[in-house]
Amino acid sequence: MTNTIGRAYADLRQQKAISLADAAGPILPATTLAAFEAGESPLGYGELRSVLGRIGARVADLATADADSGSWLDRWGYALDAYQRGELTTIPEIAGVPSQWHEVVVLVGRLAVVPPRERPALVTRWQKERLARIVMAPAIQGVFLHLIVFYTAHVLPNTIRRRLIQRLRDESRLVANAYLRIGSAAGALWALTEVELYLGNVQKGEELLNDLRRRLLTGDLYDRLAVRVLEVALAYQRQDTVTAEHLRYGVLAVLRLLGSSEETTRFRRHLDVIDRDLGGVDYAQ
């Protein structure tokens, strides 16, 4: 994965009308700085601080730079999350995606806008094989891996899903920030659990659900709501529509009390899909 924070640095440097050679100074070759700005290679933090100092800027200035700066991965995660919350009606093209990941980013974007059951039909056999290779590659980790798994879990083969579960169980539950929740290990495990429930593997699904519950901390209210959504799917698979309806009502009542229309949109959309796919009920109409 390449470092595209370089774009933000380039913006700051150009705003201050400082040449590449002057910014690089004696610290590093201008070609290295150019590669960093182009997102082709990372800089160590010490070097980054030094070249920031050369243009009279601080690390914090990068964080408050233009919204288009920051890593493509961060902007991609934000766009996917904003789509779920109804803040975006389409998933925009993400600038700065490295060429080797462009296809998978476009594919995930296509899958993200359709319900899970429709996803397998949108993926070719070749794409499934490529996805499997990507998610199993040891070098592919963190937000990038989790986002791919979140949206492609329903098209991955059983063996790959099982191996992913083993791998993700040991990962940190850290969430970098609120809009990258779906890009966390917990988000990816949530999606893998949903697949088992969709496939009617109730025992496996319940086992994974218990695993998710065990990982919850007191304050993980978002994750606790997300677990309740999976319990709706489990209830439908057990033919227990009363419990499913009770849980659905509970999730939406909590969000109403908290006053978040965006989170209500996210959870209602997901509940509507589960209700339709597994319960045969169309609340959306």
Partner: protein
């Protein structure tokens, strides 16, 4: 280069901590370890952290994670050593992260050093014109330990600064701002300081719900309920009713710890109301 007051205090502290380190590592060695670790810390820049995460293997990305890991994963002696290293880094380089590391890992009991730490942290936070995220986290962590509720008045402009125009950056920064404000609110309620609590609640209420995380929305509602109950009179009934709803929510979310924490705030609010009768 230990030229400032903190350097002298540090020397004093080093002398009083005596032979504890004799024959093992020196504080200078620890300082080098800390410096080396700090060099790897992107600090405020979350996107950089995210990018770097794969090459950093797991959670070794930033200062706060380093602190969390050190707090959980090592014994008291190791924490003290890291803290002393942090103090040396701060005294020698002025890098505030060294002091933050030290104060959070091993708060001192010496009142002169405590006062010096408090001044240094408040001065640092006050000097940052626009808080990008890290400062909110630092305030939350040191509030009540080193920095007092009174100090928060000095930091109010930064603490309540409006979010960035970029929705993405606002959603990155505002939850951290909300968490810091909620921490101030909790301290204000716990100390019965209703005007400060109300001022903080007003600041929280001015943040659009869309920018807040679910847990911050929950605790913001708790703040509303707590202030209604604490004010008493006609506000008591709606406050109590809101607490009941929030308690139902914690039950639905299957979080006994949340219910316990909620109950603490509920009882504290009732106590304030009784005192103000």
């Amino acid at each position: 280069m230990l030229s400032d007051g903190n350097g002298l205090l540090l020397q004093h502290w080093w002398r009083t901590s005596g032979g504890r380190y004799a024959g093992t590592l020196s504080p200078q060695t620890d300082a080098m370890t800390v410096l080396h670790q700090l060099e790897e810390i992107p600090l405020t820049l979350q996107s950089y952290t995210i990018h770097q995460a794969p090459s950093l293997r797991g959670d070794s990305g930033d200062l706060l994670r380093l602190i969390a890991r050190a707090r959980l994963g090592v014994g008291v002696a190791e924490r003290e050593r890291l803290a002393l290293g942090g103090r040396f880094v701060y005294a020698a380089t002025g890098d505030i992260r060294g002091l933050i590391l030290a104060t959070l890992l091993h708060p001192v009991t010496d009142s002169t050093l405590q006062a010096s730490d408090r001044t240094a942290l408040v001065t640092y936070l006050q000097a940052q014109p626009r808080w990008t995220g890290f400062e909110f986290v630092v305030l939350r962590l040191v509030l009540g330990r080193i920095v007092t509720l009174e100090d928060v008045y000095l930091l109010w402009p930064q603490l309540t600064q409006a979010p960035s125009v970029s929705p993405r950056q606002a959603r990155m920064r505002v939850p951290l701002q909300a968490a810091a404000l909620l921490s101030v609110l909790r301290h204000a309620i716990a100390s019965g300081d209703l005007p400060r609590a109300q001022q903080t609640q007003d600041a929280l209420d001015s943040i659009p719900a869309a920018l807040l995380d679910v847990q911050h929305l929950f605790w913001r509602r708790v703040g509303t309920a707590a202030l209604l109950v604490a004010r008493g009179g006609d506000d008591t009934h709606p406050g109590e009713a809101l607490f009941v709803n929030l308690m139902d929510t914690s039950e639905f979310l299957q979080s006994p710890g949340l219910a316990t924490a909620l109950n603490v705030v509920w009882q504290a609010s009732r106590q304030i109301a009784l005192r103000h009768k």
